[in-house]
Every structure is written in C-alpha cells, then in structure tokens.
Amino acid sequence: MGNGARRRWRVTAAVVALTATVALTGCGSGSSGGGDGKVTLKFSQWWDPELPKGALQGLVDDFEKTHSNIDVQLVSGPYASVQDQTFTNAAAGTLSDVVGLDGAWVSDLKKQGALANLTDLMKESGYDDSQLAAQVKEDGSTYMIPAVNFVYPLFVNTDLLAKAGVSAVPTTRSQFSAAASKVTALGGQTKGWVIPLSTQNPNGIQNDLMSWAWASGGSMLKDGQPDVTNAQVTSAANFVKSLYDAGDVTPGALTLQETDKVTEFTNGRVGMMIDSLSHIDTIKQAAPNLKFTVAAIPTTDGFSGKPGIPYAAWGLGVSNSSDHKKEAFEFVQYLMSKDVNSKLSTLANAFPGNKESAPDFTGADPLYQQAFEIYGKSTPVNEFVGLPTSEELMRDFDTNFQKALAGDQSVEQALAATQAEWKEKF
C-alpha cells in the first residue's frame, strides 16, 4: 500500500466512523429537547449511592420546581464504574450533560476535549465566581468546580487504644508508631493500622501514603514537575515501610482495597486508619457500638508549620458534547448556590465548595463538627488533582513501593524509579 492509499484508507475509515457517530449520537444520547420545549439533562455521578437514600433526588426535585423547563435525570453508579463509564462515554462523545468529576480525571478528560470550558460558561451567564472556594483549572480556564470537599482525617478506635494502654490520640509519627505497635500487641487479629495498596484502584498511595507527607507540609511536586525523591516524601514512605516491617499493619496490604480498609476498621480489628470523613455514617450504621473519633494526621516530630490535610472533592463539570450547556450550567449554579450547597455538604458530611455556605451542625454528628475544626486549622492538599493520567501515576508509585515493601529494593530506589516513570508522563 502506498502512502497515499494508506492515507485515503485511514481517512475514509475515520470519516465513516465519525459521520456515523455524529449522525446517530443525537438520538442515542438522552439530552434531547422534548416537544413541549422541555430540556432533559443527564447528571452522572457516584454521589447518589453515597448519600442518604433519595437525598440527591430531593435536591433535583427542588430544582425542577423552580426550573419548569428542565428535567434532570440522575445516572448513578459506584465510583469505580462511574469512572470507567465517564471515560468510555467521553471517547464516544456521549458524556452526560452534567458530569460528576474527580479532580484526578480532569486533565485527561480535558485533553480529549470532553469537558466544556466553565470559565466561558460563567462569563456567558454572568456568574460571580468569587463565591467559589476553589476551581480546577487547565491552561488558565476552569473545567471543574469542587461542589463539596471531603477531608481525610485519622480515624481512631478509642476502645482499642484504651485497651492497649494508649491514653491520648497520637499527634506525631513516633507516638503513632508506638500506639500502633501497642494495639498490635493486643494479639488476635488486631493491628495498629491499615493501608490498602491494591493496584486495581491505587488510591491508597494518595490517601494513605502521601497524606503523611502532606500532613507535615511535604510536597511531591516542584514547579509542576515530579519531585518524588525529596526528603519529605522519602521520610513518609520510610515511615510507612517501618510500620509495615514491624507487622503493625493489617496483613494482605498489597491487594487490600479501600472497602477492606473500612471493613477492618468497622469490625474493630484495626486501631487507626486514614479515611474519608464521608464514611462516618456508614461505619456507625454497620457498627453502632464502635467507639471512634477523628483527629488530624500525625506530623513529623517537632513539626510546627500549618499541617496539610488530604482532601477529595466531588466536582462538577459540563460535557462539551452537550446540546444544553446553558441549562447544564444552570443546574451547576443551583448546586453551588449558598443554601443548596450547605444542604448537600451536610448530607455528605463534607465541607461546602461555596465559601458563603456553612455546614449545618444541628443534629449532625459531633465528629463532623470536630473534623470541621481540624479542617479549619489545616491546609487542604491533593497534589494529584489536575495531573495527567493521575490514576496511572499512583499505580506506578504503588508498583514500585510494593517492591520496596517486599524487600526487592530500597525505598529510595522505589522513589527514584517512580520519579523516572512520572517524568515520562508529564
């Protein structure tokens, strides 16, 4: 096949596929205007299963009351499948009009041209963005608005710690190590700490490893470039390895998943874990008798700066292929408005993305209020937000770190290998 023929073949294939896709997606995707001028918006997210039953639908119903021309249809699923679906849909141009986003996805979705430029949409609708606590930007424009933020504090099983003779919740790493080994010494199936490192969903690197570095003011980036081999990351990784080597960590860490972490804690088999605040309700429901509290993540001994606290956001974006971007943004605006945002964040045990909103503590869990205080004293950090293929970055880190835990290489070698792999992807 000559060059020309080859090109023709390729172009033809592309054109056929594209025309077919474009011609038919109109009827395939649900965002079509009805006969009565009503617009139907699809809103895909993993929030619904994580909120109290029917809570999100309640917010949607309220929106539809005041916006009689718009119908909002919830497309819900658990996090992992929403993630897979978001990317397959983006590739096929069938993303829902309003998309629930994780900060880690933004860079790749934007690269595919799947997300609408929210800066433009805000301008068009005259939206005042000064009320937003944060915006996730790519090349100077906003592509995601964090609707609510979850912090990841330290969860402490107070009964277990008391039984092990630890009177105060640890605030430094050495106190933490000591507490962990005392809890482990209780014997049976009990361990001091748990870290899930399954490569299936390598979130553990962000939530359970990097959080130690961030808590003590560390960073894994320097001028937007990877800097994984610096002293702070190294010391955090070494700290985790020392806990692992001491046998104070729940066995099977290398293939444990996040759900296993929560399960172990819920069943009182682990003294401490770093976890999303959103899990308070789940844990209380599953184990009403479990006594636990939340605290700031311990820092390095003698650390005196403002501590960092890892957070994750439920973000909002608008699909670039939506025919109703204006209406979609109206819904985003609604979710970000002062009262609704307060309500949403209270429902989710999270902190509002609107600066003017305040979570409603009446009748809420005291732990939630306690976490709010921790939040106020710390800087929220999540350096994986906005990085390219951030999940794969975590997976690279994870794979190398696993080798260090297994003793195949040193922590320093693992970080150096991670650094090299990350450089290629930036």
């Binding site: 390729r10 594209l18 490192l197 066995p251 293939t255 794979t399 696993q402 297994a406």
Partner: protein
Amino acid sequence: MANAHATAVRVAHRASGERRPRRSLLPYALITPTAVLLLVLMILPLVIVVANSLSSQVVTRPGGEFAGLTNFSQVLTDPTFWPATLNTVVFAGASVAVHLVMGLCFALLLNSPLIGRTTAGIFRTVLILPWLFTAAVIAVLWRLILAPTGVVNYGLESIGLIHDTVQWFGDPSTALFAVTVMNIWAGYPFFMLSLLAGLQGVPAELHEAATVDGAGPWQRFWSVTLPQLRPIIVSMAILDLLWTTQQFALIWLTTGGGPLGVTEMLSTFTYKLAFGDYDLVEASASAVLVLLFSLVVAVFYVRHQRRADA
C-alpha cells in the same frame, strides 16, 4: 490464515457428505441473520481494533497517522508484557490441566453404575453450583473466604496445617496460586458435564468385550474409556484454553494484577493500558497480540475438528 481457510473448506466439504444437487438462494437466506450479526457486531469492531493498533491516534478521532508497528514494539518492549504473558500461560495451563483431571474424576464418579440415579442427581446438582455464579460474585466470595481473617485461614489454623495466617491474595508467593484455584473452582463444572455426557455415550459392549478379554477396571479406563473421550477432551481443552486466557473479571476483582504484578495477565495488562493510561492505540496493539495468539489456538481447534469429523 490461508491454511485455516483451506482446512475449514475441507471440513465443510466432508461434513456435507453426499453431493447435493440443489443450488438455490435459500441457504444464503438462512445464513443471512448470522452473517449480518457477525459482520456488523464482530468483524467491524475487530477491523477498527486492528486499524487502531496501526495508527498513532484512535481512528475515530482526528489527528492520527499511520504508525506502522510502533505500537506493537511499544507493547512488546513494555517491561510488564512478558511477565504478564508468562503468568497467563501458567494460569491458563494449570487451570486447563486441573479442570480436565477434576472434570474427568468427577464425571467418572457420577457415572458409576454403583450409585443410584437420585444420588447421582443430587451430587451432580451440588457439583454444578460453581458454574452458576457470575464472576463478580465469585470474586467477592473468594476474597471473603481467603481473607487473612477468613474461614479458610481459620480452618487451616485450627487443624494445625498452618501457624500464621496466609495472605492468599496479598502474598506474592501465593497470589497466583490463589487466583488459579479460584478459576479452577469456577470452571471445572463445564468439563465435568461435557465428559459426563461423553461417558454416557461410551458403548457398553466395548466394556463388556474388554472385561471378557480379562481387562481390569484401570486397563478398561485406559484402553476403552479414554480413547472414546479423546475428541471431547481435546475440544474442551482448546475452548477452555481460549476462555481462560481471556479471563479478566475474576482477576481484576480479586488482585487487580498485584501484588508485585504476580497475577498480571494479558487481559489486565490490556485493560490498564486502555483505562489507566488512556492509551487506546497501545491497548489495541496489545489486544491484537492476544487475538493472534487466540487465532493460533483456533487453527489447532479447526484442525482437531477436521480429524474428529474424519
């Protein structure tokens, strides 16, 4: 490929037996639904995958160029590709071998004239159970029973077989073993059923003749039963090899390819390329490699079918 074609043509000719004078449009009408389905929903996507694997950007998106074999060399030089291939071979080889042995043993037991019909029926039902579950459930179930605090560890510890809890899925030295055992459990019933049916087809006269000749049960098994079952065994083994090589859900939902990549298979490798790196062209190249391997096996299958027909 050409070879496979020729083989299949021969198969077709032989299978059709006597000459048939009728030449009408009817046979074409009869196969049209099958042909259309396969063409649109199987061949067309396959062509797109192959096109993607030879391109620098997915063909459905603008800006791609013909990339030759770049994607393939990228995949073939990926440090995890060859270990993944090796794992797949071990996983699939062990699964198929044990499926076969287990399936045959269970089938022989169930077919024994010494037990009554009802008893056989009850055992058959119990032994078929693993086949009825969807992969997601099997994965969850095995994670539960093989957990460090799960019932298997507890049982083994109670009877003193092990002293420390074993992290079946989490320990690099046992993880591949654990996923293989799980897959064996999930897949043996299909073998068992097929072989059971085959055993019922072994003519009783053959056994009687062998007994008259003074053959013991063991000899009868080797010289009468096994040769009779050979065609089924080969068919099943090849199909099972293809299915096991493609196994994704069971591994993904238990170990995700870890720990330390010891359970990384070609299927999980491909999935990570596509949904982790969002590198769809390399993922397509990897997929085409798996496909080529499968085709080699398919050619053997076709060959075998030809012999079975002869």
